[in-house]
């Protein structure tokens, strides 16, 4: 990369790059200079152990999520609509937004609820008045209890999972990976990516953890076999 392309002809750009290059003149202490990344993709590594026993991936995922004070349900495909309906009614959710790519059969049992199906085209306003959101996810990471949203049709745009107070996320077991290093073999970055690990939280006051500040204060994860 010896030639720089001329970008907006900014004098500060030229100055910074030349300062950096003169700083790098002293290369004596540094090893080789390949421009390739260092990390290897999907390296399995050694699995995490919690309480010194190894857990199956799905069990590990569930345990870590519970640690974050998320509510976790495990159902089979047939039981999914009932489970979703039960969560919606037990949380007192009166209005719902779902991305238009979400499988209709997943939420057909929710009953008397004001429903907004978002196709992502309209202006992003009014979602703060909606109680809950149901989405799928691109993948989930067991070791860290992480849900990965990447703007797929059943996940929708970012704002719908941000403003409502209840987020119900449906995770298929085959979407659960073990650790973070496998993440980018599953998910690309052409859309915005959001990693969600438990409900919004803060520990800013006397380091006491409080669940729920600005993002959804309630996270409900439904794991589907």
């Amino acid at each position: 990369m010896a030639t720089d392309h001329i970008s907006g002809d900014q004098p500060s750009r030229t100055k910074i790059l030349s300062l950096v290059r003169s700083g790098l003149f002293n290369k004596s202490m540094d090893p080789g200079s390949s421009t390739a990344g260092v990390a290897t993709r999907g390296a399995p590594g050694t699995p995490v152990r919690i309480d010194s026993h190894e857990l199956e991936t799905v069990d590990l995922f569930e345990e870590v999520l519970r640690d974050y004070k998320a509510r976790v349900l495990r159902v089979d495909v047939e039981g999914l609509p009932d489970a979703v309906a039960e969560v919606v009614s037990s949380c007192g959710i009166k209005s719902l937004v779902v991305p238009n790519g979400l499988d209709l059969s997943w939420y057909e049992g929710v009953g008397q609820v004001e429903l907004v199906v978002d196709d992502g085209s309209g202006p992003a306003v009014g979602f703060e008045k909606i109680d809950g959101v149901i989405t799928g996810c691109s993948c989930a990471i067991a070791e860290t209890g992480t849900l990965v949203l990447s703007g797929k049709p059943d996940e929708g745009r970012r704002v719908i999972t941000l403003l409502p107070d209840f987020h119900i996320c449906i995770v298929k077991t085959e979407a659960i990976i073990r650790r973070v290093s496998e993440l980018f073999s599953r998910v690309g970055v052409s859309n915005p990516v959001t990693l969600i690990s438990g409900p919004s939280a803060t520990s800013d006051i006397e380091l006491k953890r409080v669940e729920g500040v600005h993002g959804p204060r309630n996270l409900i994860v439904v794991i589907v076999r």
């Binding site: 990369m1 720089d4 970008s7 500060s12 910074i16 790059l17 300062l19 950096v20 290059r21 003169s22 700083g23 790098l24 003149f25 002293n26 290369k27 202490m29 540094d30 090893p31 421009t35 390739a36 990344g37 260092v38 990390a39 290897t40 050694t46 995490v48 152990r49 870590v64 992502g120 085209s121 070791e143 860290t144 209890g145 992480t146 703007g151 970012r158 704002v159 941000l162 650790r179 973070v180 290093s181 993440l183 980018f184 970055v189 052409s190 915005p192 990516v193 959001t194 990693l195 690990s197 409900p199 919004s200 520990s203 800013d204 006051i205 006397e206 380091l207 729920g212 500040v213 993002g215």
Partner: protein
């Protein structure tokens, strides 16, 4: 620097005498240390991860020019605009002129040390733009006109009742709050939600920028970051030149290292990744400001360079015996603690930062916990040498160290010195053990008791009993 009114020895004095502050700090750092210890112990390959993290940071820094150019072209390819700032004042001007172009007088901000380093909020406010901090702790600091005292938990020095009183005076005027942290968090939620929904421009820092894809990563807990990164029409992110990772898979390494080191969580609640502008989702305009502000000079120092490995996790603060007693304000810098003690003197040309390399016992705990293996004690010693070489040493100190060096570098001279001291025992014995020695050495006895001198030295005893 004796008797000086700036510098760590002066600024830390009143703090270590504040027993409430010390109790707050002790309980906070102890709690976070334990949490970190637990989640790090879970990862059997933690040391491999640290090595990988270090290797990636080293690779980036040793080819930083290429990575910067690559990042620039990747960001432009996905619809972002890249700006370059040689120093803090240029970065401030860039941000302000973008705000002015859009005719706005308010911005919302995600907690960012880089913008604190620039003094962005002050600069904007001088030019009629109000920057609203949205992280709970940063909001507390801003409302109290205070300064952060910890990288991660900036309001670590404030307790809940102080915060309750502050909120009742400011954002929750006219309402009565309890001092329950959940109630206080709710008060900030109510106050900030309106700001998020009406803001047109957001300013953020950058945790990592991926050169290969132009993807920017911000990690956070509360969701205020997601609000700022998603709702406003214009997003301005500011980064130091060193914040680059080559690929997404390299980023994954730091997503494992950072939360466990920082908050002691397996993962922070929210991590946002975006690549330029995404049609129909989030800001319509994205600006990336890349700032040097003397980092290139740090790069030029072969020992100091590793300071730029830092990913701002703050693990070193929580294990440091000096930080635990003095607190962050004593460092008089945006960057406190062990990392601040090596970063501040290299980035800032202030007199106070020159004292920071001595704000350490060189115990090495910071090196042990550092997720990217910055050898902080090595850099501390290196910077001590540098500061002294610049002439920041009194004549009498130089004289005493010259004598010490002469004595300690020869066996015969050392023996002679011990003999002289043993002859002078009668003088030293007259000193009460709690008394203080005269002159510069008196500083040593200020906080320590003078030990009783033994009847004979070890070397004499050895020769007498075993040597022959």
């Amino acid at each position: 620097m004796a008797g000086s009114r700036v510098g760590f020895p002066y600024t830390s004095r009143s703090r270590i005498e504040d027993s409430q502050l010390r109790a707050n700090l002790r309980s906070a750092t102890t709690a976070i240390r334990e949490k970190r210890g637990r989640v790090v112990a879970e990862k059997a390959d933690w040391e491999d991860l640290r090595l990988k993290g270090e290797q990636i940071r080293r690779e980036v820094l040793s080819n930083l020019d290429s990575y910067l150019v690559k990042l620039e072209s990747s960001v432009e390819k996905v619809g972002g605009v890249v700006h370059w700032a040689v120093d803090a004042s240029e970065a401030n001007q860039i941000v302000f002129s973008l705000v002015r172009q859009h005719g706005e007088s308010e911005v919302v901000k995600v907690k960012s040390l880089t913008t604190d380093e620039m003094g962005l909020n002050e600069y904007l406010s001088q030019h009629g733009v109000m920057a609203h901090e949205t992280d709970l702790a940063e909001l507390i600091i801003q409302l109290a006109h205070d300064k952060p005292s910890h990288i991660l938990v900036p309001a670590i020095h404030k307790n809940r009742s102080e915060i309750r009183d502050l909120f009742q005076r400011t954002i929750s005027k006219g309402t009565s709050l309890s001092d329950d942290p959940a109630v206080l968090a709710e008060a900030s939620r109510l106050y900030l939600r309106q700001k998020f929904l009406s803001a047109k421009i957001a300013v953020s820092g950058v945790n990592f920028a991926v050169a290969e894809t132009g993807t920017i990563c911000v990690v956070e807990s509360e969701g205020n970051g997601r609000m700022c990164l998603t709702l406003p029409k214009v997003l301005i992110s500011v980064m130091g030149i060193e914040k680059i990772v080559p690929t997404l898979d390299d980023l994954a390494v730091f997503l494992e290292l950072l939360p466990r080191s920082s908050t002691g969580e397996r993962m922070n609640p929210y991590t946002s990744l975006w690549s330029g502008v995404h049609k129909g989702d989030g800001p319509e305009e994205f600006h990336l400001v890349i700032m040097d502000n003397r980092r290139s000079a740090v790069l030029a120092d072969p020992v100091g360079r590793q300071t730029l490995h830092c990913i701002r996790c703050s693990a070193c603060l929580n294990v440091c015996p000096v930080y635990e007693r003095s607190g962050g304000h004593a460092y008089d810098s945006v960057y406190p603690g062990p990392i601040g003690a090596i970063l501040s003197p290299q980035l800032f040309d202030s007199e106070s930062s020159k004292s920071l390399p001595w704000a350490s016992t060189l115990c090495g705990a910071c090196y042990e916990v550092c997720p990217v293996r910055i050898n902080i004690p090595q850099v501390l010693v290196h910077l001590r040498e540098k500061v002294l070489a610049e002439g920041h040493q009194s004549r009498s100190e130089r004289f005493q160290f010259a004598i010490l060096s002469a004595v300690l570098s020869s066996g015969a001279r050392f023996d002679l010195a011990l003999w002289v001291i043993s002859r002078l025992r009668f003088l030293i014995d007259r000193f009460p053990s709690s008394g203080s020695l005269p002159g510069l050495v008196g500083k040593w006895t200020e906080a320590r008791e003078l030990p009783e001198l033994p009847k004979e030295t070890f070397r004499v005893w050895w020769r007498r009993s075993r040597g022959h």
